[in-house]
Amino acid sequence: MYKLTCLILLFCGFVISIQSCSNDSSGDVQEEKIPEQISYNFDIRPILSDKCFVCHGPDANKREAGLRLDVAESAFQALKENPAAHALVAGKPELSHAYLRMTTKDTSLLMPPPSSNLKLTAHEISLIDKWIRQGAKYEKHWAFVAPKKPALPEVDRTEWPKNEIDYFVLQKQEQKGMEPNEESDKERLLKRLSLDIVGLPPTLKMMDDFLADQNPKAYEKMVDQLLARPEYGEKMAIHWLDLARYADSHGYQDDGYRTQWPWRDWVIHAFNKNMHYNDFVTWQLAGDLIPNASKEQILATGFNRNHKITEEGGVIPEEYRIMYVTDRNDLFGKGLLGVTLECAHCHDHKYDPFSQKEYYQMFAFFNNVNEVGIESVIGGPETYAKRPLMEISNEDVKSILKFVNKADTNRLIVSVMGDLDSTRKTHVLNRGVYDAPGEEVQAGTPTSILPFNSKYPKNRLGLSKWLFDKKNPLTARVYVNILWQEFFGKGIVKTSGDFGMQGELPSHPALLDWLAVDFMEHNWDVKRLVKQMVTSATYRQSAVISKEKLARDPDNLLLARGSRYRLHAEFIKDLVLASSGLLNKTIGGPSVKPYQPAGLWEGATSGRGLLSVYNQDHGSNLYRRGMYTLIKRTVPPPTMGIFDASNRDLCEVKRAKTNTPLQALVMMNDPAVLEASRVLAASLLQEKNTQEEKIRKAFRLIVCRNPTEKELTLLTNYFDTQLKKMTDATAGKMTAVGEYPMTKNIDKKTLAALMRVVSTIYNLEETITKS
């Protein structure tokens, strides 16, 4: 049967491809038409970068024939090997030797050489041909030019936009002859909004109130109400914890426990008090260097100490110290600047204009920490943070660090930043190897992004000023894009960690620039930006995918429908706990150990340290939000990993969104989901109403909307058949799941039958999807 299915699907694929070809003339977004005016940034550079720059680009050591195609001067110069000829001659492809080599039939001359496994398509060659005919004009890479606020575009359907975002989105749609979807129905919109802002499903009361509220401003009111809730900080923290590779263990070999969680509590707190992005990041990068730094500012610098730290006896300390500095530097590149700086660790960058020297100039900012490669091997509480560290006293949590949820009186230490009094010399490391120092360098930044202002101090504080310099072309764009990805499922630049030449081009460049400049103009106000996004008409569209739109725009690049995405791992857990009434709303504190299949830690451990054995928690700690599940890096929590959570090894700015059979097994059989089903069923059975009403309520709590008649009939019939065949023995076994106390005086058979219904509702695709 499966083979047959494959064949049928292959056949279907065949049909789709025919369909998409025939759609070309009607404006398929992936059409391969040659534009009237060729843009270097949008049409040509992606080709040259991908296929030519490895040998004819920024990397001086790998450059062939002395030719660079990434800078105009070199491309137009006489060729070193043949001074009578030029790689490019404006207007004349037939005289441009680069073009001739790309199109020759002689494979010994062909570029790229066949041995590179790279090949230009006919379409790419036509683009290059036309570009040369039009004068072969070079442009600076779009992302390295500071954004300017564009004017709002003209649109035909002027009644549709609700705010500025919509003008940019609608204009693109109108150009392609597409129309936006209707606004989503209120129930689904509320679910989407609630999950996006607080990471929790709406309560019944919220649903009722919102459905009843006929005020035209009802939606905006709901947005404000949600933004003010403390769970907002928890929700927003997740993407930042991924970026900052936060975890509860040191990583590497023995993977011992660490107490870095007060830093995580600070992140939640910072989002909740709507700390503006510039301050938020400056404190984390350089809180310790701010004059008269407060304890809170120092705690924020834990950011740069979340990286893995070895406790493996026998390592060479300097090798690891260099790794820590490298990790910080790479995070700065990927997470804050959105460039793959890490590629210049061993050699000049092959695509982007960053030299290896510049990599180490940036490295110098992070190279002065008063730390060692290995401070201690695995041990007791004194190893839970590594120097430099700060101690958080009980006095602190009563006064200046109130947001740190410290429940006991034990000594609490957190790794933070702190520099040496003297300056540690920084050298280029040949091939990136720790013991092969080359030329000495001073702290600095890549000039292609923005030269370092000489007025700034040459330390991390100065680096923060550079990062938030209005002329920095990347910082605002990159963060705006990360948030866009949070709320719309994918970034305006899909490669959210790579805005360089090899990254994807923005789907809506003008919108990205408008948002970035607007964000800066409003002093990097994060809550304001979130509100802008979720109140746009673009966001509020229904997620229905018509066949026509699916065929024309399968990836929803034009945003002519609402995004439809599976929830992040943590929020799946939250949804299950919140809808069943089990959720423990405590914010912050040490991470917890909920149910986990036996033997996972024990089977993969060296046998040393606090985390070699999984001692599961009990009571209310079982019902904490997903973000508080303890992350042991070498064996991360299994249900989280199955749903694509980051393993927090390195900075991560984009999670995969997969759909696998293991996910189905979790939803069907994870005791946490089964327990929630049992507890919710029991509480429904306490109510004096009909079976149908109970099922309706369960459906509303979990799917966050009223079921249709069909759905309700299906589920009610399912309940009836289950109840009919349920025996006492089966019911006893079914309901004996989880540690939450069993409700007394309930008929177990009815409970078990209803529990199966509830569990089925948890397994619906729509349940764990924002739609």
Partner: protein, 484 residues
């Protein structure tokens, strides 16, 4: 049903089509023959689909990797160095040591006295390969094996060295070898995960294993290694809850798919139909996995071959038998890890135990595959992450010593899958410290494994954040001399 699938097919876009099928390149190559435009305008797949993949006829279809975690000492197992016994207690000449960096465990050691193997070696088979008395079963099958005595690596500590061997990079976050093969070759069996991991542990000094070793890195998570463990839930969350039998589950799934189908009718999102299919696959796995894990139907001869431990779940022997069954059922890559080989001290005692754990079952696996006619198409690999020093770590006494990590040479063996049987490749010097001939770098080894599976390591690439990644990073040469 067929109509429904047809409907869904129309609505599939390329990526979902691929990931839901998890066909990999083999299937994709077929797909792109049928529909040349299927992958247009999608850089990601374009790259993985460099022309002509699979690049050539594969010699092997599947891999079983018996990883000896912690680094077994080659001097006591396969790399016979009588000279070390003669030089017992003498300092290793600085000219031999060269500039080799040392781990923090021996860097401050005042002297580096050489020590020979406490156990004797003999030659076996037609190939006259040397094997120590610790490996009597392996000794009997040397004519099926190819020993590579000249492996070397770059890392000197466990974590980076393991990660390097498995992912081609010391830092992690890249796909494991099994993920690459799953990605490159796709599934043979739709009811079992394509890349499975089995863990066991001996009594010797142990080092942890990490899930990053079987990570899919930036590849789709369908290529992630799935750990099979002992006990009632061999795959996480596989077992239905108590009180729920197969009919109950079928009832639930029938209702569920009807409800999901209603949702599909409303939204038209292909993810919904993909979800329905994933639930069906999960349902089939629930039957297929326990079937394959069930060792009760193995004959007495087989039990005898692998040794009595093979009936004890979670032992190395049980995992070897299970590996054969999984592989036989089409699992592309079966990865075993046996912990406990890190003999910094107390080496004679510990390594004897460790060798006893693995010797019989490793040899049995090769023999078993051979008698089933599967060895030709299955590549079996045995080895650790680096070697151990020729000098002692810590105190040298008459009957006790230890050995530190050594990246410059170590021994692995391979069998089947188009690797020359009865061969010894590469040599170390008479002190067993440096390679004397035919060095094989970790990337060379990886390139060779991929080659045997029909994949060119320079063409099996995946573009991620602007860079084209390969298992072999930027180097690696296929070791042609050891191929049949």
């Amino acid at each position: 049903m067929e109509k429904e699938i047809l409907e869904h097919g129309f609505n599939f876009n390329r990526r979902r089509f691929l990931s839901s099928m998890s066909l990999g390149i083999g299937g994709v190559a077929l797909g792109s023959l049928l529909m040349p435009d299927l992958f247009k305008s999608n850089g990601m797949q374009d790259d993985a689909l460099a022309p002509g993949i699979p690049h050539f006829a594969p010699k092997a279809k599947r891999v079983i990797y018996l990883f000896q975690n912690g680094a077994p000492s080659q001097q006591e197992l396969f790399d016979y160095k009588p000279k070390l016994r003669d030089l017992l207690g003498q300092e290793i000449p600085p000219s031999v040591r060269g500039s080799q960096r040392l781990t923090g465990m021996t860097a401050n050691q005042a002297s580096f006295p050489l020590v020979g193997s406490f156990v004797d070696f003999k030659q076996y088979g037609e190939s006259r390969a040397w094997v120590s008395d610790l490996m009597p079963y392996t000794a009997k099958i040397v004519d099926d094996l190819c020993f590579v005595k000249s492996m070397y690596t770059e890392a000197i500590n466990h974590d980076p060295a393991l990660t390097f061997l498995q992912t081609g990079s010391q830092q992690g976050n890249r796909p494991s070898m099994g993920s690459w093969l799953s990605y490159g070759l796709g599934n043979e069996n739709k009811n079992l995960p394509n890349f499975t991991v089995l863990l066991s542990r001996g009594v010797g000094n142990g080092q942890g294993v990490y899930s990053k070793l079987w990570s899919n890195g930036f590849l789709d998570s369908v290529h992630q290694g799935v750990q099979f463990s002992k006990g009632e839930d061999p795959v996480l969350y596989l077992r239905d809850p108590d009180g729920m039998d197969r009919t109950d589950r079928r009832d639930m799934l029938d209702n569920l798919s009807q409800l999901n189908e209603l949702s599909y009718q409303e939204f038209g999102d292909p993810e919904i139909t993909a979800k329905i299919k994933q639930y069906e696959m999960a349902y089939r796995m629930q039957t297929a996995v326990p079937e394959v894990m069930d060792l009760s139907r193995e004959s007495d001869d087989i039990i005898k071959l692998y040794g009595p431990d093979c009936l004890v779940p979670g032992t190395y022997a049980a995992n070897c038998l299970l590996a054969r069954k999984l592989s036989e059922n089409g699992v592309r890559f079966v990865q075993l890890y046996h912990q406990g080989w890190d003999q910094h001290g107390n080496l004679p005692y510990e390594i004897t135990k460790q060798a006893k754990d693995v010797d019989q079952a490793s040899a049995a696996l090769v023999t078993d595959l051979k008698q089933r006619g599967l060895l030709d198409e299955t590549l079996v690999i045995w080895g650790g992450e680096f070697g151990r020093t020729s000098y002692t770590q810590g105190k040298l006494t008459a009957d006790n010593y230890g050995r530190d990590h050594h990246p410059r040479c170590f021994t692995i063996w391979m069998a089947g899958g188009g690797i020359k049987p009865g061969m010894v490749y590469g040599e170390t010097d008479e002190l067993g410290y440096n390679i004397a001939s035919n060095p094989v770098h970790v990337h060379d080894f990886q390139a060779t494994v991929l080659h045997q599976l029909g994949l060119d390591h320079e063409k099996l690439i995946f573009k991620h954040l602007g860079r084209r990644y390969r298992l072999t990073d930027v180097s690696g040469k296929v070791v042609k001399d050891i191929l049949t």
